[in-house]
């Protein structure tokens, strides 16, 4: 087993599926010759040719809209949008077409695609390169939204996404693209879509996180452990359809809930998770639900981004507040 980062793990999953499925194509801006600005598709054009790893014109709606047609024509398109901030020009195709096709045709023709998008802040990037707009996607019925927090899940979730019967938006946390290296099996495996993962067991508080925030949540749990607080950490992994059962079961056990995400607080997924826990496990709660999130502001440029982003220290503070209630 080789040690690898998320970039290599994703590349491996794409490579494996491309070799197996000759209907699969990758398309987007700079995905071919350049291998993507983060190198996730590196080497694939050399291996599979320019008809299967395709540099497209610079047009996000075009990339997603053409992928709708490619899918309806029997291909499995894997479009890439270069940064989450450039997803907006494609939102019409995504919301009005991709998400609704199965419903519109009453099951006659569903769109299958895995739309890859680098996600989130923390890489000292220009404006529009550090946002976390997952709420828009999760609010749209028909989309499946996943995001890995480590190399093992990245490979397994990508393998599952490429075989999934519904369109999948694959949010890739760019802050940890290369930050975590771990052993990833060479052989084929999948990480199930729609299942959250309890990455650390605990008894006093449940911390829910996803993507790059999982690493911060785990560090916070370590720190809290030293202070005698036992934190359970849940990696949501699939943002939609959301596995609230795993979260509810955990809160029934711990009685406290802290949710952390990079996205702005108002109507961030934390709001939905809190609502579902209140509906299902209100009497188990020993303290109000804490949210450790980005602010309700525009994501600042990088001189200030560390003030904006939640951190290990902020999560620890959030947990302490819940514990002291």
């Amino acid at each position: 087993m080789a040690k690898m980062n998320i970039v290599s793990a994703l590349n491996m999953a794409l490579d494996f599926e491309m070799a197996k499925n000759d209907r699969m194509i990758i398309l987007g801006e700079d995905v071919g010759r350049e291998g993507g600005v983060f190198r996730v598709t590196d080497g694939l054009q050399d291996k599979y040719g320019k008809d299967r790893v395709i540099d497209t014109p610079l047009a996000e709606s075009g990339i997603v809209g053409a992928s709708v047609g490619l899918s309806l024509g029997g291909m499995l398109p894997v479009p890439e949008i270069q940064f989450e901030g450039f997803l907006y020009p494609a939102m019409d195709q995504l919301f009005n077409q991709v998400a609704r096709y199965r419903t519109r045709s009453r099951g006659g023709s569903a769109v299958r695609m895995v739309l890859r998008v680098p996600w989130g802040g923390g890489i000292r990037a220009p404006e529009h390169h550090s946002d976390s707009p997952e709420t828009y996607l999760v609010h749209t019925p028909g989309l499946t939204v996943v995001t890995p927090s480590n190399p093992y899940d990245a490979k397994g979730l990508m393998a599952a996404a490429l075989r999934h019967p519904d369109p999948v938006i694959f949010c890739e946390p760019k802050r940890i693209y290369r930050a975590i290296k771990e052993e990833v099996p060479e052989e084929d495996y999948t990480v199930p879509i729609g299942k959250a993962n309890v990455v650390r067991e605990g008894t006093d508080v449940t911390i829910v996180a996803w993507a790059a925030m999982v690493r911060d949540a785990l560090k916070a749990a370590e720190e809290l452990d030293a202070g005698g607080v036992s934190a359970e950490v849940i990696d949501l992994r699939t943002l939609s359809p959301m596995d609230s059962e795993t979260v509810v079961a955990s809160v029934r056990k711990t009685g406290r809930l802290v949710i952390t995400h990079e996205a702005p607080r108002t109507l961030g997924l934390g709001a939905e998770i809190a609502a579902r826990v209140c509906e299902e496990a209100f009497t188990s709660l020993l303290a109000p639900v804490e949210r450790v999130t980005g602010f309700d502001t525009v994501m600042p440029l990088f001189k200030l981004e560390n003030y904006y982003l939640p951190s290990t220290a902020k999560i620890v503070a959030g947990v302490r507040k819940a514990m002291e209630y």
Partner: protein, 353 residues
């Protein structure tokens, strides 16, 4: 031959059969008189079906409907397709879909508010109606691109109106098609109005057809009320696409006799005189004149053609109206391939009233 002979930059337009039914034999596409007669009969059904839909809407038996009255020849663009080709419609393609073989009863069900009308018989190469203006042009590009990548000789026909050419997706679709040389035919029905806004407010360029040049392929302006011009230009574009020569743009000049949809009042933006000026250009009038000269049409026969059309349409209405209503749980069944637990609970809640 047509695309090279009629240059939109010079204001040249293809017309094969004029408004009096006179055919320029040098320009005539391969279409027998018998086939023209057959298409005339189908176009008559289309007109009766369209009128019926308007009446049903007035009676509250149908929702908002986008009529094709006056555009029957342009709507017949789909008859040039081969079985393996794809029709990619906008909401004004009831006619094109009908001509392609989508059952009228299903189209009625859709406009009656039942989405099950968009589930076409297996193997029908027609996409569901797209309501977002211009969005479907990209789907046609992707579809035809898939055909090319899979080594199929099939093409996709993207239908849209003059208003759609202002949308960003029109530009992106034309651009992708030009870059990847996809076997796509872009068919624009320029019916002069996008709801109330005239063509002159959609673009500063003299024609829509000339826009093709900017994307590296050919465009042609045709008289869209001339069935033979529609058929001929379509065939040439499809032949070229099949030969690997890439996309084409056809701008079919036509005129909508009815409103944009049943929700619109056209007297607000166009005069009765203008409408009357366009009446003689009706696509069915010229076909009648032509067929009459060939001994293939008479006033007497028209009664039986309209009578048969009316019966066919009445039958479709009866089928559509007698379809059992969808159960309320139908809302849930197509959001995901497998509904997640929370959706399952919502579904059970509606099922239990």
């Amino acid at each position: 031959m047509y695309f090279d002979r009629f240059d939109p930059f010079k204001g040249e337009k293809l017309e094969v059969m004029d408004k009096d039914g006179k055919v320029d034999e040098a320009l005539r596409p391969e279409l027998s008189d018998e086939k023209i007669k057959e298409l005339y009969v189908r176009m008559t059904v289309m007109r009766v079906a369209d009128k019926t839909a308007l009446n049903l809407q007035r009676e509250g038996r149908m929702g908002t409907y986008a009529p094709v009255w006056g555009q029957e020849a342009a709507e017949s663009c789909s008859v040039a397709l081969d079985d393996g080709d794809w029709l990619v419609p906008s909401y004004r393609e009831t006619g094109a879909m009908f001509m392609r073989g989508v059952p009228l009863s299903l189209l009625y069900r859709y406009w009656m508010g039942d989405e099950r009308g968009q589930r076409f018989p297996e193997g029908t190469r027609v996409l569901p109606i797209n309501v977002v203006v211009g969005g479907q042009a990209l789907h046609a590009v992707g579809l035809s691109w898939a055909m090319k990548l899979r080594g199929e000789k099939s093409c996709a026909l993207a239908c849209f109106g003059d208003g759609a050419t202002s949308e960003g997706d029109f530009h992106e679709a034309m651009n992708f098609a030009g870059v990847f040389k996809t076997p796509t035919v872009f068919f624009c029905q320029n019916n002069q109005f996008a709801i109330s806004v005239p063509r002159s407010r959609q673009t500063g360029s003299k024609t829509i057809a000339q826009k093709a040049a900017a994307y590296g392929f050919k465009g042609i302006q045709i008289y869209g009320n001339d069935l033979l011009a529609v058929y001929g230009a379509m065939k040439e574009a499809l032949d070229r696409a099949r030969a690997g020569e890439g996309p084409s743009l056809i701008e079919a000049l036509t005129y909508r006799f009815g409103p944009h949809t049943t929700a619109d009042d056209p007297t607000k933006y166009r005069s009765e005189e203008e409408l009357e000026k366009n009446r003689p250009f009706d696509p069915l009038i010229r076909l009648r004149a032509y067929l009459e000269k060939k001994g293939l049409w008479s006033e007497d026969e028209e009664y039986s053609i309209v009578d048969a059309a009316t019966k066919e349409v009445e039958k479709a209405v009866a089928i559509a109206e007698s379809a059992p209503p969808a159960p309320p749980t139908d809302i849930f069944d197509y959001t995901y391939s497998t509904p997640p637990p929370y959706l399952q609970r919502q579904k059970e809640a509606i099922a239990n009233g």
